[in-house]
Structures are given as C-alpha cells and as structure tokens.
C-alpha cells in the first residue's frame, strides 16, 4: 500500500535538522521504501515543502500514519548520527458532563469487532481551515467539510480509520453489530446499491435496518450533510479477514478497507477517539453530549522474546554489541533489557502481530543498524559437492538445443495454457509410459484469465503449428521447443512430462531429412536402438521396445515430430569406447541387387550384417526403381582378408537374401 506524506506535517511529530533527502534516504535503507520525493508549493506558494511517496509493506499497518513514520524516521536517523526526536504524545481523556443528554446503547459482537470507541457530539458543519485542507490534499484525500475531513485527518495521523454518523438521521437508541445475511441490500454514501454476500460486518438500528458497513464505507441513510447538527463519532477495530472478504467481493476498495484488512492496532483506537474529539472541539465547535464508550473485551497481549548475542551475530554475519541492539529496540518503542549474553524485548502493541520470534527481533536490530554496514562474503562451497556430468539432464538439454540451433532451428516458447480448440487438435494417444492405462485428459483451470488459456496442454505440436499460422509473412519454418505437457491424474497430482517437438516447412525438406535429424541427434547423445515404425496412419518413434514419440505430416508439407524428452535422455551417455585401429585394410564392395518393392531396406541390411562378424558395416548407397545398391565393409582385426574369403561371405549373403527376400544380383 502507498501513502503520501507532507514533510512539514511529518515534522509536527519529528523534531530534526535532517533534510527531506536525508529522511527519505534513511527511511528507505532502514525502514520503508520512499519511492519518490517531490517538491511542492501546496502549503504556501512562497515556501517549498516536500511530499514523500512511500510504499508500506502489508505487515506494517502502523506505518500508514504520520506518527508511525515519525517514530521510524527518528530511530533510523539517530542510528546514522543525525539527531532526531519523536514528539507525539497521546492526547488526554477529555472531560464529559455527567448529565449527558444522549444515550445510545451499542451492542457489539466481539467475534466480529474487537474494540468499539464512540462518543456523541453537537457540532457545526463548515469548511475546514486551509491548513487541514492542504494537508489532506497532500496525502491525496479530498477535503469535503470539517467533520468528514477530521475523520480522515485522524486516520492519517494515528493510523486507525474512524467514522461519523449523522446522529439525528440515525434516529435510534441502539446500534447493534452483527453479520449480514446473504441478499441484504445497502446503499452506500456515494449512492451505489450493493447486495451483500453474507457474513459481512454491519451495524443495524432499532428497526434492524443496516446503517453502516463497518470498516469499509458509510451508508447514505446516515451520512453527514450540510445540515448535520449532531454526530456519533465511531471507531471500530474489526476482523481483518472479514473486511478483506467483503471489500474484495463488492470491489469496494476504500482507504479504510485497505487499511482495516491489514489489522491496525486496536490500542490506537482510543488515541484516535481522543485526538478526534480535540479536533472537533477546535474546528467544529463540538460539545460532547454522551459518555465515552469503550468496548474492549480482548485487550491485545504482547509477549517478550529473548535472543542470544551469539544468535544475533551468527544471523547478521558480524558482531553487534548487545548495548547497541538494546538502544535500537528502545527507539522503536520496544521494552528491552540485557541479562548476561541475552537480550529480552517486548514489542509495542502496534507490532504485536508482527513480532513473535527471535528472528523478528534480529530483523529490527539489523535493519536499523543498516544493511549497508554488513560486508559481503560468498557462502563457502560445500565439502560434499560432486558434479555428475553424465547424468545431468540440463547438460543433455543444452546439448540438444545447441545441436538444433546449429542445424538451423529457431526455439519457441509457447504458452502452457491453451484453449479448448488446441486441446481438440492435440493427438489422443499417450507417449508417457506412466500414463498408459489412465484416461488421457488435460488439467483444467477453475479460474482462467481468458478462454484462450483454459487448459494445461497435453501436446506441444498444436502450439508449434499455431506459431506457423501466426507468422504468415514467412514460408519457411524450422522450429523447436522443449517444454512440459500435462495430464490429469484423478488420484494423484496431475503429471508433467518434458517433451521435445519440431516443426519444419522448407523447400526440398523430406521425411528422410527429419529422420536424419533424429538419427544425428541420437548419435550426439550416445543413443542407439532408435527405430521408426509405420503404424496405421502414423509414424511412431520407438526407443528399445517403448514408444517415445511420433512424426506427423500436415497439409502444405509441414512435418512435425514430438517425443518424450525425459525418456530419451535417460538413455543418453557420454561414454566413449576406444577400439584399436585395425592393422589390416578392409575390403569394400558395392552389391547391386534387384529387390522386390515390398521388402524393407532395414531388413536387408540387418540380414546382411548377421551373416558374418567380418561384415562390419552395411549401408544403402543408392536406390533406383527396383535396384538397390548396398555398400559393404569387410574387416578382420587379425589378418589380411583374401578375395576368396570375402567371396565365400558374399555368396552366403546373396544366398540368404535370395531365399528370404527373393532378391537377385543385378
């Protein structure tokens, strides 16, 4: 949450010679972030004033106030050798007449509201004096009239929201605080109607009509007008969770709501009441006409916390004298005492929610001491650090990405969240072995941002095809992506598996170019035993006996490939084996065969290789009509092969091939 603070107003509670720049700097370094410091002529066109724009973290509602910030600034400045004094004193309890004319009974529900402070007053409506108006303006609050202005002025000073009712318009002898029922309607002071979701904190009159949405906004039926003569000045400290729920579901993000949902300190409610009464007397001719109500059944409890000097120094990294820690804590409003090597401290009430464990004390000490005063040191490398290069999946990923890059591919990062359309285009079969027997469905978002992003995708291929569609100015594509795909799992967490997908559209690019890329990639990863098998309409990729992925051909000559990358790299290895170089030359020959069309080249090659261990390599050299030429390497490691030895092997090869496949030599 942000707050704008006028420098001259801050200095009412902070006595110091520090410049605004110094205050901004030390607050930012030790306390809360001053996002900007702007010069302004708002208070007096002749002199320069300044406005601090400060970001307050959600755990410090006490700093959404001049008093809170003045206290912090004082602690920060003093630690940095700039004299500063926090000069706020709580206002005294005002005297009330014993024969108060007005009696209004407040029935509280302490499970909803922790504290209620209230008093009734006779007042005079008129514009606020210029100083009040300018100060409110500096903090982005519009000045309306003296009564409403005072409620905001008090909130800004003390840090607790306050409210006023037009007492005459309230026209009730009781005010009861209860939860709303679903469907109850209210009309807020800005004339908007809302239907309550139920469970909201409301106040009702004698007739059970709602007269306030506590802690969020006043209602039209009791709002201040130019004719207001009597007010009920009302301060409620309510349940932060309920405030947030109501405020968010009605989208009513008033200043009071934003502050109340952070839980301001109920102890300050009475200070706000007394200070407000002072201001009403001064600027609205107020006269108190009722007793002062203070319903506070559960007073805030704070506990003391102890921490050892050793622990403080160990966490901060340098030794901090306990005496210094004691001074810092006291300047922040803590009670603190030292016993042997331990410091015991008790937080002030406005820090009770925030300070609970020793680490909280260490934070207070370290931040005021100054994080910039702590030196930098690198954490030592652990003794147990071992690098397992061969089994690091990220190294295999990098190798794969680099290979694809140097083969001309561009990497894409498409969204994991996809539309129903994309899901419908996704392949239905499973290539993730752990899911073989489960129903394949994408995890669905309960609260998507838009219909384009409703499901977690089960395949990368449709996303890559979408990239091609979305780049109409191109006619050549070589794309890849490595990312997760997701599957719902009714009894376990939805699973995620890492896939690799390629999409290619290029002149002269064929299926065998794609096969070549896959084979070359496997070679670089040390993987053998990869096979492509035609099954029904698709071409499936198998690694050993398991299906790893598939290749698809789409309209307009687009080829795509998708495989389970996690499973692929499980078989990757850097292991290299040295084989001593053969001492004897190989005999190389080409066999030109007439082969029936339905015989697979792969089958012929594997048959040839099986005929004799001296056949060290066989590859297809050429294919033309019904002729296939095979390039064969015969090699012995022990002797020079003779032509007749090779001749015998060749004869066996030709005989076997002829018998098995009906081939013949050309």
């Amino acid at each position: 949450m942000n707050i704008k603070i006028l420098d001259s107003w801050l200095r009412v509670y902070l006595s110091t010679k520090a410049t605004p720049e110094q205050i901004a700097k030390h607050l930012s370094l030790c306390s809360v972030s001053v996002e900007s410091l702007e010069k302004t002529k708002i208070t007096d066109s002749k002199s320069t004033d300044y406005i601090y724009d400060i970001e307050i973290t959600t755990n410090r509602p006490d700093l959404m106030s001049l008093t809170g910030l003045a206290r912090e600034a004082s602690a920060a400045l003093n630690q940095n050798n700039i004299n500063a004094k926090y000069t706020f004193t709580t206002p005294p309890k005002p005297s009330t007449q014993s024969n108060s004319k007005t009696k209004i009974t407040i029935h509280n529900d302490s499970s909803l509201v922790n504290r209620v402070c209230a008093v009734a007053m006779e007042v005079q409506v008129k514009p606020s004096p210029p100083m009040i108006q300018k100060r409110l303006e500096s903090t982005d609050i519009r000045s309306l009239n003296n009564l409403i202005d005072i409620t905001n002025y008090v909130m800004r000073t003390i840090g607790h929201p306050t409210h006023i009712f037009d007492l005459d318009r309230l026209d009730t002898s009781t005010l009861t605080i209860r939860e709303s029922k679903t469907g109850e309607k209210i009309k807020t002071l800005d004339k908007k109607t809302y239907t309550l979701p139920g469970g909201d904190i409301v106040a009702v009159n004698d007739k059970n009509e709602i007269i306030d949405l506590l802690g969020i906004m006043g209602l039209e039926n009791s709002v201040i007008t130019d004719q207001t003569k009597k007010i009920l000045f009302f301060i409620d400290s309510n349940d932060p969770t309920k405030i947030r729920k109501t405020s968010m579901s009605l989208a009513l993000r008033s200043e009071a709501a934003v502050l109340n949902e952070k839980g301001p300190d109920p102890e300050t409610a009475i200070d706000a009441l007394f200070y407000g009464i002072e201001l009403f007397k001064k600027f609205a001719n107020a006269k108190i006409i009722s007793p002062i109500v203070d319903i506070y059944p559960n007073k805030t409890k704070t506990k003391t916390i102890s921490v050892s000097e050793e622990k403080i120094n160990s966490v901060i990294g340098i030794p901090i004298p306990l005496k210094k820690s004691e001074t810092i804590l006291k300047n922040l409003g803590f009670t603190a005492s030292i016993h042997k090597n331990t410091i015991t401290a008790g937080p002030p009430s406005f820090r009770s929610k925030d300070i609970e464990i020793p680490e909280d004390l260490i934070e207070e000490i370290a931040r005021i001491y100054g994080y910039h005063n702590i030196p930098n040191s690198l954490p030592p490398t652990p003794q147990t650090a071992i690098t397992d290069y061969d089994h690091d999946p990220f190294i295999w990923e990098k190798k794969t990405k680099d290979a694809l890059k140097y083969w001309g591919f561009t990497e894409t990062y498409t969204y994991s969240l996809v539309s129903r359309d994309i899901i419908n285009q996704s392949p239905k079969f499973v290539i993730d072995s752990s899911l073989q027997n489960s129903k394949l469905s994408p995890p669905r978002l309960q609260n998507p941002l838009s219909s384009d992003y409703t499901y977690m995708r089960t395949s990368l291929t449709p996303s890559l095809l979408k990239v091609i569609k979305e780049n109409p100015d191109r006619d050549e594509f070589k794309l890849f992506e490595i990312a997760f795909v997701y599957h719902d799992n009714p009894n376990k967490l939805p699973s995620q598996n890492l896939h690799l997908a390629l999409a290619i559209q290029q002149k002269k690019f064929t299926l065998f170019h794609l096969k070549g890329i896959l084979e070359q990639l496997c070679q670089d990863l040390g993987i053998s035993d990869l096979n492509l098998i035609k099954e029904n309409e698709s071409i499936n990729i198998y690694l050993e006996k398991n299906m790893l992925g598939f290749i698809q051909t789409h309209d307009t000559n687009i080829f795509t490939l998708e495989l389970n990358f996690e499973n692929l790299i499980k078989h990757a290895t850097n292991k290299k084996t040295y084989k001593s170089l053969p001492k004897y030359p190989p005999i190389i020959e080409d066999l030109c065969l007439i082969v029936p069309h339905d015989i697979a080249t792969g089958d012929i090659i594997s048959t040839i290789q099986k005929q004799n261990p001296l056949v060290v390599s066989v590859s297809l050299l050429d294919k033309y009509k019904n002729t296939r030429t095979f390039h064969i390497n015969y090699q012995s490691y022990h002797k020079n092969l003779t032509d007749s030895e090779v001749g015998d092997i060749r004869a066996k090869i030709l005989q076997t091939l002829s018998k098995k496949f009906n081939t013949r030599l050309k």
Binding site: T58, V315, I362, K398, D402, W407, L445
Partner: protein
C-alpha cells in the same frame, strides 16, 4: 658426359614444368643449379675431360645451364602471375556461403547464463514442478490460511479433488515451492538454484500469465545476511557488469525473516540518479532499480521441512528471469508479452 648433360636438362625441365609451387620450384633450382647441384657438379668435371672434347662439351654445358635457367625463370614468372590473377578475379565482397545457424530463445539464453554463474560458486540447478498441491507454495512457506496471495484472483486453481492435508491443486505462482522440495530431501548443506515456469493471473505490458523465476536457496550451518549479500552481489556483477552494485532494503515476505528487497544501481546513470547533463534519469528511482525479493529462510519454513532452525540457517531469493533479462543492455523490450508472441521477426534477432 654428353648424355649426362642431356639427361640433366630433360629431368630439370620436366620437374620445373610439372611443379605448381614456387617453393618446390626453388628446391628444383637448387638441385640442379645450386652449389652442389647436378649441373654445377658436371661443369666441375669438365676439367678432367680430354683436351679436344673440352670446347664442344663446354659449350653444350653452358647451353644446358642457360636453358635450365630460362625455363626456371619463365616458370617462376608464370606461377607468380597465376597467383595474382587468382586473387584478382575474386570479388571478395560477395556473400559467404554460410552453414545453418538457428536461434535459441532469449529466455533460454538468460537461463543458461544464470545457471553458469551460479554453478561457478557451487550451486546445482534444479527444476521443480509447475503443478503443485497448495501446501508447497503456500502453507509450507508460512502463509496463513486467508493470505491475499491465495485468493483465486491472484493464483490459478486446477479443477481437481483437493487433498485433505495438502489442499487444492494450483499452478505455482513462485519458484519458492522448490525450496520445500529441496529441503524435504533432507540433504544438508543445500546450494540450489531452481529455475522453472510460474503462473499468475495477470496480463499487461509488464506481466505475462506464464513467466520464469530463478530461486536460490542456501541452507547450512551459520549462513548469514553477509552471505546473502555476497552471493547476490556476485551474481549482479557477473550478469549485468562489474560496475553495478546492489543494496538491500527492509521488506516483508511470509517465508523469510528478515526479508529484503534487492535493488541494483541503474546502468544508465550508474547509480547517480542524474545524467551528465544534469537531467533526472528517466529509467530509475533515484539511481536504483528493483531486482526482486530475498531473505533469511523463516524458521517455520525450516521446521515444516524437518530442519532444526537451531542448527541450521539459510537464505533464499526469487527473481524474475524476464526481469533481469530486460536489464541487459540492448534488451529494453517495452511490452513483456512480446517475449511469448513467437513472432519470428522478433525471435530471430537474437
């Protein structure tokens, strides 16, 4: 003798005419005409000839020498001319024939660099799940039940049966859930860098619903704020440049105590807040840019992972990969959604 001269001449000419290399040519010249060359030796032998043969053989010897020399000189000229014309007929400004070169996505490039920097100081890269039980990104990280970040207008929820202990299923909004997985392994000391996709219900010029974070976690004996500052300062100087500095300021996170916001000095005004022309620097806030959050691991978080906070302490930080990437000089992309647009004209710039 006559025959020897003839043979020498023929051999020399043959060798000279068949060479294309000027070095080799020189070697041939030395072989025949050098101090110990064939012809030189033959000429010396003239002395031992009978008187009546001397004039005829002598003349023949000289002729032979001259022919060889002429042939040599001609060949040398030819080779030199060839060399020149070869290079002269080439237009070297013609485009080269390039092998293929594709493109890795900017996010990959950033992740690789971040990983390399942290590997060097002993961190191991991890990638923890994107789909999680709510316990991991929230409860275990010390978020109370009703914390705003758990609202369904900030975090994505998956339609799935909730677990009685671990809660509903969400898309993790931060890589901090990785801290829990790492600590649950029970292997201390920890030096982890978890880089993974995160998801938040937000989409505008500086937010995409899917983005990447890198989360560092160090748990060991006596880890201090000094170590946190050291590690982060080392990273920033390595990734953004040696002249850059960091500062940490008080902040608030549920899962760290103390918590810090980390700023880096502005690269444009070098931390001064003003440009050399005295104008206010437009990029930064008084010389500093926000990098991300960090802090000392909250003892409740350690306890949730069965680590004794009396024995061990740790620090953690979680920053946006896209954010630090955009701080690199030359990568000032004005709309973050461009990174995931997959427009090839964009991707192929990098």
């Amino acid at each position: 003798m006559k025959d020897k001269l003839l043979n020498a001449k023929n051999e020399a000419i043959s060798l000279i005419l068949s060479t294309h290399d000027s070095k080799e040519l020189e070697e041939i010249r030395i072989k025949f005409l050098g101090r110990n060359g064939t012809l030189t030796t033959l000429l010396k032998d003239l002395v031992s000839l009978p008187r009546e043969e001397k004039p005829i053989i002598g003349r023949l010897a000289n002729e032979t020498k001259n022919i060889i020399e002429d042939t040599f000189n001609q060949r040398l000229q030819t080779l030199t001319k060839n060399k020149q014309s070869m290079t002269n007929s080439i237009d070297i400004t013609d485009p080269g024939i390039r092998p293929p070169l594709g493109h890795l996505h900017l996010v990959t490039q950033a992740i690789e660099e971040i990983t390399a920097i942290f590997n060097k100081i002993g961190f191991t890269r991890k990638r923890y799940p994107e789909i999680e039980w709510d316990w991991y990104p929230f409860t275990a990280l010390n978020f109370p039940d009703n914390h705003p970040a758990r609202d369904d207008w900030e975090t994505f929820f998956i339609d799935h049966k909730p677990d009685p202990k671990l809660g509903p299923v969400v898309l993790t909004p931060h890589t901090s859930s990785g801290q829990i997985h790492e600590m649950q392994k029970g292997e201390i000391p920890i030096r982890m860098i978890n880089i993974a996709k995160c998801y938040r219900r937000q989409s505008d010029t500086s937010h995409t619903p899917m983005f990447h974070q890198f989360e560092g976690l160090v748990v060991d004996k006596e880890i201090s704020i000094s170590h946190l500052k050291g590690a982060l300062s080392y990273f920033v100087k390595s990734y953004l440049g040696e002249k850059r500095t960091i500062r940490i300021r008080p902040y608030h996170f549920q899962f760290t105590e103390p918590s810090f916001e980390v700023d880096v000095s502005c690269g444009v005004c070098l931390g001064k807040g003003f440009l050399p022309n005295k104008q206010k620097c437009k990029l930064c806030k008084s010389g500093w840019l926000e990098l991300g959050g960090s802090g000392m691991v909250h003892p409740n978080v350690l306890k949730n992972c069965n680590i004794d906070p009396e024995k061990y302490t740790g620090f953690a930080f979680g920053w946006g990969v896209e954010r630090v990437l955009m701080m690199k000089e030359g990568i000032e992309i004005d709309d973050l959604r461009m990174l995931y647009s997959n427009n090839l004209n964009f991707l192929q710039q990098f």
